[in-house]
Symmetry: C2
Subunit: 131 residues, 2 copies
């Protein structure tokens, strides 16, 4: 499951906002042992970026999905991580996370993410495969 | 935004479970005016299928995302639908929804979904595009 999750370049992050409203956005990510990192891109003032950070501050429980789709439904699979998210305040940890992200994404090597880094402590990994 | 959403064959559904836990799974879908339909596939007794239905029964608010990823980040986009979900109990509506799904997916024409149909009344459509 872990290698399938790692094989994807994009995952979807679900958070829960005020009043129990789910919120879902795509994220680029890197894994380090039992932690998933993602960074808020260069415009942290955008409503969308604030929404995910506000939700995490109010309710740290998040769910993150990677899936594979193709016409042959016997080859479908998905892997989901559930865990608790926090904004990384330690500069050394944030720097390490940005290095992990840059190692996976040439786009981050060219333009390091300017916004906060979020760490998700992975509590559970769940997978499904059609075959 | 609507045509971008329609162009995708897979979306991700976020629901909220007991204690404010987010849950996220991929879904195949069809749109009909202001309603999105998806069906639970042939094994409604599976834990995952039950989880999404239990969550919807307890909290109908859902968020559904379609996104586009490629190496050229200037071409990224996503579209999100927020709305209220309900299990379709009217047989005519369920039949119509399965027809819409079958029109989009050859796999459903070969194997109609055996589980319940869920309707999401679309309350808001939000989009983002890198360029």
């Amino acid at each position: 499951m872990r290698s399938r999750f790692q094989s994807a370049f994009i995952a979807r992050l679900a958070t829960v906002g005020a009043g129990g409203r789910p919120h879902i956005v795509p994220v680029c990510f890197a894994l380090d042992e039992q932690t998933l990192y993602f960074a808020v891109d260069s415009k942290p003032k955008r409503t969308e970026n604030l929404q995910r950070l506000r939700n995490i501050a109010a309710n740290p429980v998040v769910s993150i999905l990677v899936d594979h789709y193709e016409d042959d439904w016997s080859r479908l699979w998905w892997v989901r991580l559930d865990g608790d998210a926090r904004v990384v305040t330690d500069r050394a940890e944030a720097g390490m996370a940005v290095k992990l992200l840059a190692a996976r994404y040439a786009q981050y090597r060219a333009n390091p993410p300017a916004g906060p880094v979020v760490a998700v402590a992975i509590a559970a990994m769940t997978g499904w495969s059609a075959s």
